[in-house]
């Protein structure tokens, strides 16, 4: 599910080995075209899931500070509320800063951030995002009157009352605007709605909350939210 999302929304910028040449890419006017850009004199346009991909591949991981601040702002909280190991030690700035692309100059002598993300980076990203999403969901569900994001979604018996209803759609749009800084495409909305259905089968007793976590996680741990 998440990989599909990435293919649709994130690979616009990054180089992906699974390139699809589409004969008709809608707005792009065709799968093979020529044109001129600042970087060169023209050539074939590579399309990735219908989106022109960059030949530059200049995506950069946000690193521990930017990633955490964006996550906090996106979920309407503070950096302090994002993630604490054992409920005490800040994940991004104390426990896992180097895995998240930060430095540790004063004690360890790591003066410059690693030039590439490490083997544990994705694990830590997911751990931090899941923590932040869970905190926001718990806060919103425990205080519906003051809820910031996870609100207006009718729930009955632990399940979403109307998976296709406007409340779910509005929540998906809000998450996308917060995490991706744009409106979601219809395909992305459909993917997240389908996710709700899938979760309902797998987690029938707590489907609504489980879906909220999964949807939040999918958006904020996506390449589009983590790279820039």
């Amino acid at each position: 599910m998440r990989l599909e999302l990435l293919a649709v929304v994130s690979l616009a910028l990054c180089a992906c080995p699974a390139v699809t040449e589409l004969p008709d890419a809608g707005g792009s006017g065709g799968g093979s075209a020529t044109g001129g850009g600042a970087g060169g004199g023209g050539g074939s346009i590579d399309l990735d899931a219908g989106i022109t991909r960059s030949a530059k591949g200049r995506l950069r991981f946000k690193g521990n500070e930017r990633f955490t601040v964006d996550l906090a702002v996106g979920l309407g909280g503070t950096v302090d509320q994002v993630c604490k190991e054992l409920g005490q030690y800040d994940c991004s700035f104390f426990v896992h800063p180097v895995a998240l692309g930060g430095v540790e100059p004063y004690g360890v002598g790591l003066y410059e951030p690693p030039s590439v993300t490490g083997a544990t980076t994705s694990l830590v990203v997911e751990r931090v995002v899941l923590s932040a999403c869970t905190a926001r969901i718990n806060a919103d569900l425990s205080n519906p009157a003051g809820a910031l994001i996870f609100k207006g979604v009718p729930v009955s018996g632990g399940k979403l009352s109307a998976v296709d209803g406007p409340g779910v759609r509005a929540l998906i749009v809000d998450l996308a605007q917060r995490g991706w800084l744009r409106d979601p495409s219809e395909a992305e909305v459909a993917e997240l709605v389908q996710l709700a259905r899938d979760v309902e089968v797998a987690q029938p007793n707590d489907a609504a909350k489980q879906w909220m976590q999964a949807a939040c996680f999918a958006v904020f741990s996506s390449a589009e939210a983590v790279f820039y």
Binding site: T52, E65, V103, L181
Partner: protein, 469 residues
């Protein structure tokens, strides 16, 4: 063979029998527009694994260099033969990356490194709902500028407001305004902020040795003063060269916004004003890089690396001085394997001879005339002959302050400063494809912006390297 070239670039080899003419100049005379020559000189590693062992390009060159002539070649024979040898292997592909040596030289990639080759894939542009792929995209730049300089992304609402601006000119003006706002924030200039991170590799802090604020277990010197001067020089319309030329200190005050104020004295600093050279003579530099040594080669090489981007350990920036190293402190540096680098390094280090590192309190971290004679009389019989005058880039420097001035006014300083920001903002050192923009940018730091970093930053965010997704 270029071993002499780039060894002679500056000439890694010191002893008379090994000293060679500036072969890098021969190379650059043949290829003046090569990016390798435009922003400096090729390092020894261009042709060598480690002198005298050659890499594949060096081996190919050696085979064509006056074949049959007795070795070693005289300087004259070497200089005469080199252009022909270079020409002879231009069409070859020494590293097997399917790109000829000549094209690699012209594009600025490495002809001896298989993983280094030109990557100028035609950029076709095309439609993308969020980005102008391959074109300068001011909306993309806005998002990046806020992240890079303020530390956060714009919100969806902020992007909508940005999109509603009249045209791209208005948007570019808005981005410039936002950049100016962000560089006043603590994310950029505050304690542990982005500029402090830029300074880490230069200052090399050690928390256990820190004195003053956030004191460690063995407080010896306060490197926050070094960060303060670094940040001062890089902000607020100050001359960035002051990071190594200042005869004053800087005090950090407050937060949000953090202020950096020039002061004439600090309790944590001891070098007298007449002998100050910015962070080259800070208490921390003298404590950590001079430490207990008579001839502080480590201090000189670190300043060379930190502020000029030339790492002698990587055979960069070698400008051999005739009849050097003299080995005044009897460390054995005249051995052939050592002399290659010490013919450059030792003359760089002499101006530090009177700067004391760790010592009794009243003598620590200050300039002491006749320091070697007073504190190191038994170091070596010739130690007192160590001159204070040295050489930098083949140019005589009488004192460390002269060293700093020559360094600060050099192209190497401009290239190094710009490279730091390029790495920070673009995400990697300038590539061969980015070289033209890079050269324009570092040259403008001096010619257009009079060494003010603010102008450099505005130039940098307008480059295709930064702004084309």
């Amino acid at each position: 063979m270029l071993h002499r070239v780039f060894a002679a670039l500056s000439v890694c080899l010191a002893a008379a029998a090994w000293a060679k003419p500036p072969a890098a100049d021969v190379f650059c005379a043949r290829y003046p527009t090569s990016p390798t020559c435009v922003s400096g000189r090729p390092a020894c590693s261009y042709c060598h694994v480690a002198p005298p062992q050659r890499n594949v390009f060096g081996e190919a060159l050696e085979a064509q260099l006056a074949p049959g002539a007795a070795r070693p070649l005289s300087d004259g024979d070497f200089t005469s033969a080199l252009p022909g040898a270079l020409a002879a292997i231009e069409g070859a592909d020494s590293d097997g990356d399917n790109v000829s040596n000549l094209l690699e030289i012209q594009k600025g990639t490495l002809p001896a490194e298989r993983r280094s080759f030109p990557n100028d894939v035609p950029c076709a542009g095309g439609n993308n709902p969020q980005f102008k792929v391959c074109q300068y995209d001011v909306r993309y730049v806005y998002r990046k500028v806020l992240l890079d300089f303020c530390g956060y992304s714009p919100t969806f609402a902020m992007l909508k407001t940005f999109d509603a601006l009249a045209d791209d000119a208005a948007r570019r003006a808005f981005v410039d305004t936002e950049l100016d706002r962000c560089v006043t924030t603590d994310f950029w200039r505050g304690k542990h902020g982005a500029l402090w991170k830029l300074a880490h590799p230069k200052i090399r802090p050690v928390s256990s040795l820190k004195s003053g604020e956030d004191q460690g277990q063995i407080p010896l010197a306060d490197y926050y003063d070094d960060y303060a001067l670094f940040t001062y020089a890089h902000t607020d319309d100050h001359d960035v060269r002051e990071v190594i030329t200042a005869d004053f200190f800087v005090q950090r005050i407050g937060s949000n916004p953090t202020q950096y104020n020039k002061v004439q004295a600090l309790a944590s600093q001891a070098v007298d004003q007449a002998h100050r050279a910015g962070n080259m003579t800070s208490a921390w530099t003298l404590t950590y890089f001079v430490m207990f040594t008579a001839l502080p080669r480590n201090a000189a090489s670190q300043m060379y690396r930190a502020y000029l981007g030339l790492d002698i350990a990587k055979q960069e920036g070698l400008f051999s001085v005739a009849n050097e190293p003299r080995d005044y402190d009897a460390k054995g540096v005249q051995a052939q394997a050592c002399a290659a680098c010490h013919a450059t390094l030792d003359p760089l280090s002499y101006p530090y001879r009177n700067y004391n590192g760790i010592s009794l309190n009243q003598y620590s971290n200050r300039y002491i005339p006749n320091r070697l004679e007073l504190f190191f009389p038994n170091e070596a019989s010739t130690i007192s002959q160590t001159p204070e005058a040295g050489m930098l880039f083949g140019q005589p420097v009488a004192t460390l302050r002269d060293w700093a001035r020559v360094a600060a006014d050099s192209d190497a300083f401009l290239v190094s400063t710009t490279t730091d920001y390029w790495k920070l903002l673009v995400g990697h050192p300038p590539t061969a494809e980015e070289n033209e923009e890079f050269v324009t940018t570092w040259r403008a730091l001096k010619s257009t912006h009079n060494y003010r970093v603010r102008g450099l930053l505005h130039d940098l965010i307008r480059t295709e390297a930064y702004g084309a997704p």
